[in-house]
């Protein structure tokens, strides 16, 4: 039953062909099944209770929550040892909104510790495996959410996205990943990583479900001063078949094969598949053009991101000291207690990021590191905004191919050539732009994705283009039916 989308489930519930209780039982059963196979969850909420069925499309429907959202009375760890026992006393606003609409949370999903990773392998409960092939990664940081939606545990799960953390795992797991305009969904109760880049969002198996779930989560929130009033936007009702006159562009320096003198077979297929998708878009009346960029500038996206995100993370996570948050560590003095807590709790990867963040923020280093990175951000956002005066969105392939092997034995070498291809999703975070990934093919029996990013507040346009593209591709609502190596 749970391989169906939200609308189909809602109709079954309204017509009393199934019940919320039955859906939740099925979802919990599938959660345990997937946990054994892919290690996708920190917590499975076995005592989740059904809710009343109302006209709300998501009422009575189970869903998953990334474990960096605060959930009242339910363990919320951010997949970190520093918060391994933390039970919040309040719900994040996005969760409270979903509750109001009657959705039922059935599990908390594994992420890269505090969302600070892109592999799904750094959570304190271990690596998440890709349900299409358990030797492959899901990407991250919304790893468990992506695996669970792809496996058919429920129609939607929450993610968060600071660099590409919803949209890349969505591509590797063959599903939809959508990050709305910055501030459309309140971040109150989301554990912060890098506040100027963090976005709440959703992973689903079709664009309609992404629209429905976001409509239920969004809204201005006095507890998050960066939210804005989106009450005049109804994403689901805005979906239609009219895309005539819409214009997209891609970046020649990213998608033309001639940019990759050492291209692997995988990359060649991925780019060929991208161009085939573009041809299909043109057939439904969408104009797609090639544009060029200053490659030198765009190659620095990753470095600028590292600098900005580490700086913000260092500051945001200074409250994790075992006294304000987390279980107190042993020690004779307060400083000793805090040092022991942070030394034992944070993984080496996180500590590295904090040292970098602290270094780039030092008064004597700020100009050369942090401020220069923030200037790159400005230049890239300004270029994109200029493009958006002519186009409705940017369309590019996600990553350089399908999910890599967990043991690092991916065939191709990551070289400077594919830096932009691997990092361009960060543009969406730099500018707060709405951005959606949908599946657009298979390589070696593994899914690959395509991404569309538009100007701020143009979420409805971006979703509608993705909705129409999805309708001419055969991957809508697909469930992972992959290889299990266990």
């Amino acid at each position: 039953m749970l391989n169906k989308n939200i609308l189909e489930l809602h109709n079954l519930l309204i017509n009393k062909e199934t019940t919320s209780k039955s859906l939740i039982e099925e979802s919990l059963k599938k959660s345990h099944e997937l946990q054994a196979k892919c290690n996708a969850f920190v917590t499975i909420i076995d005592d989740a209770k059904e809710s009343d069925i109302t006209k709300d499309l998501i009422s009575g429907i189970p869903y998953g929550i990334k474990d960096n959202y605060s959930t009242k009375g339910i363990l919320s760890t951010a997949s970190s040892n520093t918060l391994k026992d933390y039970v919040p006393f309040f719900d994040a606003t996005a969760i409270a909104n979903l509750k109001k609409h009657g959705a039922v949370a059935v599990n908390k999903t594994v992420l890269d510790e505090f969302g600070m990773g892109g592999t799904g392998t750094t959570g304190h409960t271990g690596s998440v495996l890709n349900p299409w092939d358990t030797k492959r990664m899901t990407a991250g940081s919304s790893a468990g959410s992506a695996a669970a939606v792809a496996y058919g545990v429920y129609p939607f799960a929450l993610g968060s996205d600071t660099g590409d953390s919803i949209r890349k795992p969505a591509a590797y797991c063959g599903i939809v990943g959508y990050k709305p305009t910055y501030g459309m969904i309140s971040r109150y109760g989301l554990f912060p990583f890098a506040s100027s880049l963090d976005h709440c969002g959703v992973l689903t198996r079709c664009v309609e479900d992404a629209a429905i779930a976001t409509d239920a989560m969004k809204g201005i929130d006095p507890k998050d001063m960066t939210t804005w009033d989106s009450s005049d936007i109804n994403l689901y009702n805005s979906l239609n078949k009219n895309v005539q006159g819409k214009k997209l562009f891609y970046l020649k320096e990213v998608v033309d094969l001639e940019n990759y003198p050492h291209a692997t077979e995988e990359l060649k297929q991925h780019l060929e598949n991208f161009h085939q998708t573009i041809e299909k878009l043109k057939k439904i009346g969408i104009e797609v053009k090639s544009e060029t960029i200053d490659k030198r500038l765009f190659q620095t996206i990753g470095s600028a991101y590292t600098c900005i995100s580490c700086a913000e993370a260092t500051s945001n996570m200074s409250n994790l000291n075992g006294i304000i948050f987390g279980p107190a560590a042993d020690g004779e003095t307060v400083i000793e207690k805090m040092t022991n807590y942070r030394t034992e709790g944070f993984s080496p990867l996180i500590k590295r990021r904090f040292v970098i963040g602290s270094y780039v923020l030092k008064k004597e280093n700020q100009e050369r590191y942090y401020l220069n990175a923030a200037r790159v951000r400005r230049q890239i956002v300004d270029i994109m905004k200029k493009f958006f005066e002519t186009y409705d969105g940017l369309i590019l392939p996600v990553s350089a191919g399908p999910a890599p092997f967990l043991d690092g034995s991916r065939k191709e070498t990551i070289t400077d050539d594919i830096r932009i291809l691997e990092n361009h999703l960060i543009i969406g975070n730099f500018g707060g732009f709405p951005s959606i990934t949908i599946p657009n093919g298979f390589i070696d029996n593994l899914p690959v994705g395509i991404n569309i990013t538009g100007n701020c507040y143009k979420d409805a346009d971006i979703l509608n283009i993705a909705y129409n593209l999805e309708s001419i591709l055969p991957y809508k609502n697909q469930i992972a039916g992959g290889v299990d190596h266990e």
Partner: protein, 102 residues
Amino acid sequence: MSKFTKELVESYANDLLFHLTDEENELVLKEFDEIEKNMEEIASLPNITDTLAMTHTLDDFSFTLREDEIEETPDIEDLLKNCKSIEDREISVPKVVNNNVE
């Protein structure tokens, strides 16, 4: 020779209130060299220092201050549920002020 040293990394770790193993320290040093290379690339971009740094995501952002109204606050017992060491509804921490201070 790199301007980053083991001692420098250690001092940052101390300020950040954690210790690093030798292995972790070495990984930070390697990453610093990489970052330095990348930041050099950024510093050499044309017009970079003339650009206004972007520190906020939305530049058309506005917010109305909320009314100064009394709100319900969480129950202290709920807040203390995550604490292991409590005395009289307060969190117990080691003494901060030195005993010898008069």
